[in-house]
Symmetry: C2
Subunit: 407 residues, 2 copies
């Protein structure tokens, strides 16, 4: 029996179902390992010692590659003096200053631990500022796993979601309708920087939609909140809608902010500084110094090495390679989303039968990607790493053709 | 200008109010430093280099003392191979097994990051199991800082709290009334292991109240949830109501579980294993290996050194010393709560004027404690440390008498 199987058997006795949440291998497809023991750069090693070129980056957090020396040195130095103390360390101020300097929208920052903490905190600030209750959310968008936003209704109550009003991503008219239906009670409009819903092709934000949401928020006096938990620090260090020229009132960040160390943040504009002071939002480990030191080192490194451009370059190389391979094997595929956070689907594969087969085949060829969740590139993915990944994906396309035939 | 003042000035520009949450020094009293740079055992050092005997333990997390070698070695080993990966490491299984072995109530475990994650997750499991919505909560009890439970209403909506029904701590009849009022729709009764509300004397749980809540939950088919975030791992490693012979359906743990590293957990009974599998609850860093390695080392160390007894011994020594000092200086004080998580108040001091003065005086004498929030002892507090603390508290009582006169 493999080590992974042995660990799963033990886990099933002491954790419901053995595993839960987004890293539950039972959700990914056949053959995915559940347990991992190591990472180095863009490679990960599972419990049975198999090494993969990693195209998931731990579902986003790892943006500079595993065990990045500058980040780990900052963490080690922090742990060596004191991490969880009776107040934050100087690094709290330094990180906040760095973020205000890096994100043009940001006049201030508040830190927390989970992406869900940041989205929830942003809505609290918006509600405190407006005295209103409703929040416009795009149908199907993921904003975290608290009862108000978790994609599964089990264990949640109708009241916990009663303050949400849905619109359709990239459909400005639907947002106007949602606002009109909420009759002057809209505290916030929350939106992801691009549509990254699972199980379907991604969509970049239509610039007119982004500008239109900004104008709508201004007109009705609501806060525009960008949930940049997934996109943040990969698309633009200034915030993912900075290239569109659209600045929200509140950004929610997490995932890639500290290269895998646990931290999240909300940045806000001056007008919301006062309301932000009225909410009570905190956590036992929110002011730990080590993850803040990691975040500071991560953001500085991304800035200094031009991390976004490196990720984009890797993503474009991957996309072009996959396009050529799909064509040569006779498959029609869609590659959607930003190059740094890509996804590939097969034409006419609504059941994901081909996608799941192909992803599992990639896994067997030493390439870890996902059949129904977007992937993530890191600044550690060199041309050689992408070429190694493309060797695996090519073999996987060949296996797919042997199983299903060409389109 | 002090380093602390300089940092505060900078922080005020980039964080709303400069600081927020439970570690906001503006809430503690005059003279409290905001910024800390180091910890060693039961001592902490502020940004200006002043060292304190620490009786707050970072508001609970630090249970073995800062920079405990076994914990930090486990963390370092984990970071050196891989921390935030595409799945948990073997330590996830080892920690879950250790918790099931250590907590007699526990048949299974689910991990998260914040204490609030654990209390929220516990209620989700209870609701998934019962298909009901209401939760009975004691008036004034702190269960975290999400909108459903944060002590300040700012930024929350009525709907977010509409599923809560209040009872009075240690008043079983009030819990029966609350249950009757919720008409068969009670999913859970949540309770802290002792009453540790801020600004007032603590109360241990009346054993009849604890047994009565258990019987009530059984009779109405609701889950009994003990929020052991604050008490856990200090009162009894098996869970804080284990000495009372009362086992809940769900325990929520966090704070002291990993000696300051960020992790939380829910433990549950077999009957809730299936419902727990139906909820979707996750976070980007919930499966990081390093905090799990820290938790495993912390729990094993607490077990091996008899950590609870050490903390109790330190707490009793402190309490006896304070009682003698108060009497000798002519003050009537209440010392309430478990010895390991104590608090002291002055008779007739409803405005906390004396308490705040005395706590600030302690601070000036090198003893860090709190005027209106309970304190925390750790296994690192030796007799000599307590005696050093008592030197400071004695001087503070003398100053209090000089300022206010004896009772």
């Amino acid at each position: 029996m493999s080590i992974d199987a042995t660990l799963r058997e033990r886990a099933a006795r002491v954790v419901p179902g053995g595993m839960y949440g987004h890293l539950n291998a039972a959700l990914h497809g056949p053959g995915y390992p559940q347990f991992f023991v190591g990472g180095r750069g863009c490679r990960q090693i599972d419990a049975d010692g198999r090494e993969y070129v990693d195209l998931m980056c731990s579902w986003g957090p790892v943006v500079l590659g595993h065990r990045h020396p500058a980040v780990e040195a900052a963490v080690a130095a922090s742990l060596a003096t004191g991490d969880c103390l009776n107040g934050p360390g100087p690094v709290y101020v330094e990180l906040a200053e760095l973020m205000v300097e890096t994100v043009p929208q940001a006049d201030w920052v508040m830190f927390s631990k989970n992406g869900t903490d940041a989205t929830t905190q942003a809505l609290m600030v918006a509600r405190a500022a407006t005295g209103r209750t409703k929040v416009l959310v795009a149908h199907g968008s993921y904003h975290g796993a608290d009862p108000w936003c978790t994609p599964s209704p089990s264990g949640t109550t109708p009241n916990e979601r009663a303050d949400l009003v849905e619109y359709v991503y990239n459909d400005l008219a639907s947002a106007h309708e949602a606002a009109a239906g909420a009759e002057g009670d809209v505290a916030a409009i929350i939106v992801t920087p691009f549509k990254h819903d699972s199980f379907e092709d991604q969509e970049l934000a239509d610039p007119a939609f982004a500008l239109g949401l900004r104008a709508l928020a201004d007109r009705i006096g609501a806060a525009l909140v960008i949930d940049d938990v997934r996109g943040g620090w990969r698309l633009d260090l200034g915030g993912s809608w900075e290239p569109l020229g659209v600045r929200p009132d509140l950004y929610a960040f997490s995932k890639a902010m500290a290269n895998g160390h646990p931290i999240a943040a909300v940045t806000g504009v001056d007008a919301l500084r006062g309301p932000a002071q009225t909410i009570y939002s905190t956590g036992s480990f929110w002011f730990n110094a080590a993850p803040m030191a990691a975040a500071k080192a991560t953001i500085e490194t991304l800035r200094d090495i031009g991390g976004v451009a490196l990720m984009e370059r890797a993503g474009v190389r991957l996309r072009e390679g996959l396009a050529a391979q799909a064509a040569s094997h006779g498959f029609t595929v869609s590659q959607t989303g930003p190059a740094q956070i890509p996804w590939l689907s097969f034409e006419g594969d609504a059941t994901l039968e081909k996608g799941v087969f192909w992803a599992s085949a990639c896994l067997q060829e030493g390439v870890y990607l996902h059949p129904w969740h977007n992937w993530f590139l890191s600044a550690a993915h060199t041309d050689a790493d992408i070429d190694r990944a493309l060797q695996g994906t090519d073999a996987a396309f060949a296996r797919l053709r042997a199983e299903f035939g060409a389109d």
